[in-house]
């Protein structure tokens, strides 16, 4: 086996800044004042804030040490299924930091924001082209927010047509946020089961779809990493009863440049720029969840919308059927710049290749590990594959034990216990940006862990062993949470 990246290197302990503080220490010198001192009115003053007093080196070491406790795509493979933790090229950051973009202010008006508006307009056009839809809004702040915007548009559509509907169909292979988004619009979500091979069957939809059902929310590729092959037929069934099809495009990384969701019967789709279009995530945001719509829903898009007239761009709010506003100003602009930079640097062929390689890498992992871990749905997968711990049950080793042990080998663990349709799911999404050598290292690590499960299960139950903190007591944390520092 090749040398694995995990090791117990020099990782430093680091106290809180307040514990390091010593009176009189200071990391900066203020320039000499060139005005006379004038004491503030007592009414305007209070106790000074309790700030730590530190030297420059104290501060540098503090944050350097904290950064060494961190793990990100820049430090190692991060095969977190359903999250598309691809590498984010540094050029995206360079473009977003350009002064014209970084200093743009939403209150400076259309006249002084032409560059920013042009970028947003073009990005909308590119995303419409990639997804096969008429129009796009960039406003939603993340995927679930995009879902909510999409569902509010569906809700506005039925209200406009004079008869609101009460239900929405959601398969068990859809993303977990889908029922929540539907519920916020007042729809009751009706859970429907996928077929034996993990694919939704049209007959199941046909049996339950009626004229009180607003439509269906489905994720394609679904959360098992499988392509919903009967999507066109399902869309026909839903449309024949006057319903609409919501597509969760969070897994778009599998099909960019290959399938246009707008061409296969989907009426509205959200994208996650922070997944598919390579903007940073995993640290709490900000994300970006644009929504693309076909002709049916275009009048209901949130305002303001960007309109191009001759060579100028302006924000327009005069759309009488709009669902309203979904975000202050116009969404997370810095993320849009990064996604735009990504699309331009990749080009159409590059984006298509990215999806092809994402699918190839996932299938390579699936084929390489299928004798090592149980594979409940043994079909060609899309951008991710889902195993479980069935083979390890005889040693009383769980998915959680194996995921924790992967930390010792230097990998971020895959997504565990999701999707719910697979008991003990172990969901791997390598993405297109990992090399074959890195993927092989991951595969070797999982195989080594499976051997340990049989030979030294006790070691796995204690893992991770090399990390700064070892196995956390999640039970105590949940039963007796400490909610204050």
């Amino acid at each position: 086996m090749n040398q694995q990246p995990g090791t117990s290197g020099l990782i430093f302990n680091e106290p809180l800044l307040w514990d390091k503080s010593r009176d009189g220490r200071c990391a900066m010198s203020l320039p000499k004042s060139d005005v006379e001192r004038e004491p503030l009115d007592e009414n305007l003053t209070g106790d000074s804030p309790n700030l730590p007093q530190l030297s420059e080196l104290d501060v540098v070491r503090h944050y350097t040490r904290l950064s060494q406790w961190n793990f990100g795509v820049d430090s190692g493979m991060y095969p977190l299924g359903s999250c598309t933790m691809k590498y984010n090229p540094k050029t995206n950051e360079v473009q977003a930091a350009r002064q014209g973009f970084a200093s743009a202010h939403p209150l400076s008006g259309d006249e002084f924001s032409q560059g920013a508006l042009k970028l947003m307009y073009n990005l909308e056009q590119y995303l419409a082209e990639i997804t096969g839809f008429e129009a796009v809004t960039l406003q939603p702040a993340a995927g679930a927010h995009g879902e909510l915007a999409g569902m509010l548009m569906i809700h506005a559509y039925f209200a406009k047509n004079g008869k609101q509907r009460s239900k929405i169909l959601i398969p068990d292979t859809a993303h977990g946020t889908n029922p929540a988004s539907a519920a916020l619009c007042g729809y009751e979500s009706i859970n429907i089961k996928s077929g034996k091979n993990g694919i939704l069957e049209p007959s199941v939809v046909e049996a339950i779809m009626d004229e009180d059902t607003a439509g269906i929310m489905l994720t394609n590729p679904n959360t098992l990493g499988l392509f919903e092959t009967d999507i066109k037929e399902i869309a026909l069934i839903v449309h024949s009863k006057g319903g609409l099809v919501y597509g969760d495009g969070a897994n778009m990384n599998a099909i960019m440049g290959i399938v246009k969701p707008g061409d296969i019967g989907i009426d509205v789709l959200h994208l996650n720029l922070h997944k598919t279009f390579s903007t940073p995530h995993g640290g709490g945001g900000p994300g970006s969840g644009p929504v693309a719509v076909g002709k049916t829903l275009e009048p209901f898009l949130p305002i303001p919308r960007i309109v191009k007239e001759l060579d100028t761009y302006k924000l327009v709010t005069d759309f009488p059927d709009t669902m309203g506003r979904i975000h202050t100003f116009y969404g997370h602009f810095g993320i849009m710049v990064r996604a735009y930079a990504y699309i331009l640097s990749m080009g159409a062929k590059g984006l298509t290749d990215a999806s092809k390689l994402a699918v190839l890498n996932a299938n390579y992992v699936k084929e390489s590990l299928k004798g090592t871990l149980n594979l409940p749905y043994d079909l060609p997968c899309m951008h991710e594959c889902v195993f479980n711990d069935e083979f390890q049950k005889e040693y009383h080793i769980t998915t959680m034990d194996m995921a924790k042990r992967l930390l010792d080998f230097g990998f971020h663990p895959p997504t565990v216990y999701f999707p719910l349709v697979v008991d003990g799911a172990f969901m791997v999404e390598p993405t297109e940006t990992e090399s074959k050598e890195d993927i092989d290292q991951f595969i070797d690590a999982v195989k080594a862990i499976a051997r340990e499960a049989a030979e030294d299960p006790e070691k796995l139950r204690k893992a991770p062993l090399l990390t700064k903190v070892t196995r956390l007591d999640e039970v105590a944390a949940a039963r007796k949470p400490c909610l204050r520092g």
């Binding site: 049950k393 009383h396 959680m400 216990y417 999640e474 039970v475 949940a478 039963r479």
Partner: protein
């Protein structure tokens, strides 16, 4: 996790397909999670129960249990009115793991129709179901 043969399954309670148990005493039925359920769930960290006075129909979801692994719904095996809930579980949800048939009971129900209990499984039938 336990092997099927290691499960504690008392003879004097009835079992549901969704792994609850029910036991009648006088005109009150006590309901809890069985040993298989608590073992599969792992360490339970929170139990959500209805309030006394609420009524349910057989098969309704009446609460949920949360473990480190998952949140699971719990279903009532008999129609009726809740007369008492196990308030100790609020501070000590681990009682469901430690003593699922005794201190870890969930609710007490005044049944509408006691004969509904006859639809539940006895120990042998339940074991057969687990073995599939």
């Amino acid at each position: 996790m336990k092997e099927i043969n290691d499960l504690i399954l008392p003879d004097d309670v009835k079992y549901t397909k969704s792994h609850e148990w029910a036991k009648i005493s006088g005109d009150i039925v006590t309901i809890g999670l069985n040993d298989y359920a608590q073992d599969q769930l792992g360490e339970i960290v929170f139990v959500e129960l209805p309030e006394a006075g609420d009524t349910f129909s057989k098969g309704d979801e009446f609460g949920s249990v949360e473990s480190v692994k998952a949140v699971s719904e719990i279903y009532i095996p008999i129609s009726g009115e809740i007369v008492e809930i196990n308030e100790d579980l609020e501070d000590a949800p681990e009682l469901v793991n430690e003593s699922c048939y005794d201190n870890g009971w969930l609710i007490k129900v005044k049944p509408e129709d006691v004969s509904e209990l006859n639809d539940l499984m006895d120990k042998d039938e339940y074991l057969d179901m687990l073995k599939g």
